[in-house]
Every structure is written in structure tokens, then in C-alpha cells.
């Protein structure tokens, strides 16, 4: 796991520096392994992270962003500006840091909904109008993010 992290950092270095003489590549290798060596061990929630689920999650999220993007564009371009902003208290059974970060980020990325406050088990979300937050209220986001970290049922 740590070797993988060091390798990922090294690849990032290669992509960003784009100079491939011995000096630069050696510097990159040394820096990457130093960073991994100095940083604390990987967070426990990353151990149950499912890369396959993440691969399925990203396209799903992009489709969602596109759909609500067109919805919000229609709202903005409508001469009557038919918005009805509201604050929603969104109860969720997700509680670990990793899940909350992914859930909050996904909500904010989707046009029409923004995470205002985050606490374990509860989020305050600002929605531009009622149709924007239908999918959030139905718990679809929670389910997908939960699958990402393969939560067990007893973790409620």
C-alpha cells in the first residue's frame, strides 16, 4: 500500500515535470519516498475503499452533473427566474470522514445543490429549487456513496 502511494506520487512528478534526465527522475523518486515515509500511515477508511465502485461512481456522477446542469441553466435563462431556494436538513446514515467528504463534495459538485454544514449523520443542504434535490431526498446519493466504502449495516 505504501509502495503504491510512493509510486503514484512518482508518476505525478513525472507527469508534471516532463524532464527525463537522471537527475530529475532521481530527485522525484527520492522526494516521493520521503513524502510517503514522513506522512502518517494510511487512514483506516481507505482500507475498505472499493476502487471498482469508484470506477462506476464517477460516470454516474458526471451524468448527474450534466442533467442538473441543464436544469439549472434553464432556470437561469428563464425570464421569470422561477427559483425557490430552500435549506434542507438531510439525514444520512453515513458517518465516517471519508464518506462525508465524498457525499458533501458530490452534492456541491452537482449544480442546484450545495452543502452548507456537515456533521456526522446530518447535512444541511441549500437547494435552488425543489426538482434539484429530489434525488438527494430519495437517498440515492447516500446509497451510491455507501457502496463506495462498502459500509456494513451495523455501522449505523
Amino acid at each position: 500500500m505504501r509502495f503504491f502511494a510512493a509510486f503514484a506520487l512518482f508518476v505525478l512528478w513525472l507527469v508534471l515535470s516532463a524532464s527525463y534526465n537522471v537527475l530529475h527522475m532521481a530527485t522525484g523518486a527520492v522526494v516521493a519516498s520521503m513524502v510517503v515515509w514522513l506522512s502518517p500511515t494510511a487512514a483506516p477508511h481507505l482500507r475498505q475503499f472499493s476502487w471498482w465502485a469508484a470506477l462506476m461512481y464517477v460516470p454516474w456522477l458526471i451524468v448527474r452533473i450534466l442533467k442538473s446542469g441543464f436544469h439549472v441553466s434553464r432556470l437561469i435563462l428563464d425570464p421569470a427566474l422561477p427559483i425557490a431556494p430552500e435549506l434542507i436538513q438531510h439525514k444520512t446514515k453515513l458517518s465516517s470522514d471519508g464518506e462525508l467528504v465524498v457525499l458533501g463534495n458530490s452534492i456541491t459538485l452537482t449544480p442546484g445543490t450545495i452543502t452548507v454544514e456537515v456533521a456526522p449523520g446530518e447535512l444541511i443542504v441549500h437547494a435552488l429549487d425543489a426538482p434539484s434535490c429530489v434525488e438527494l431526498k430519495s437517498g440515492l446519493f447516500d446509497e451510491r456513496v455507501g457502496r463506495l466504502f462498502s459500509v456494513k449495516e451495523d455501522q449505523k
Binding site: V15, G69, I76, P85, T108, L109, I114, V116
Partner: protein, 99 residues
Amino acid sequence: MTWLAIFLIVLGLFFLVVGSIGMLRLPDVFSRAHALSLTDSLGAVLVLAGLAVYEGFSMNFLRILVVLVLVYLLNPVISHATIRAAYRSGLRPTNKESK
């Protein structure tokens, strides 16, 4: 390939323009942040994706990919921080219907 790039960039520009119009038309800081998320997560990203497609697979393609991932990770954090600061300092949405 070029046509796909043109399509993506024009779509991105559309969202950038709509986001700017929204920034002017919407009433308060909360709803303006929605216009911001429109420019960020669709406008900028579609333009970058169009550039990546135009570039083809090369070093610059990988760099644009890194920027794309960073945009998707960092922009929601920034707009969340802004909105939470506004909320905590006592601002509330204009026609609020707390549920």
C-alpha cells in the same frame, strides 16, 4: 476528433456564459454559488476535456487530466467553505422555507 473537441469546448463555453449570467441575475450569495458550481463543474471542465481530446494522448493530455481531477476535488471544497462562512455569519437564503 477535432469535431468532438469543438463540441465539448462550445458546450463548456455555453455553461460558462450561463454561469456568468446567473451570477448577475440570482439574488443572494447562496443561489449565486449555484451559478458558480455551474461554471466550475461543467464549464471549465468541459473546456479542459475538449482541450485534452484535441491534444490526443501525450504528456499534455496527462497534465490536463491532473488539472481536471484537481478541479473536481478543490472547487466544491472552496464553494462549501464560502457558503458555510456566509451561513455561520448569520446570512440566510432570501425566501427561506426551512424544512
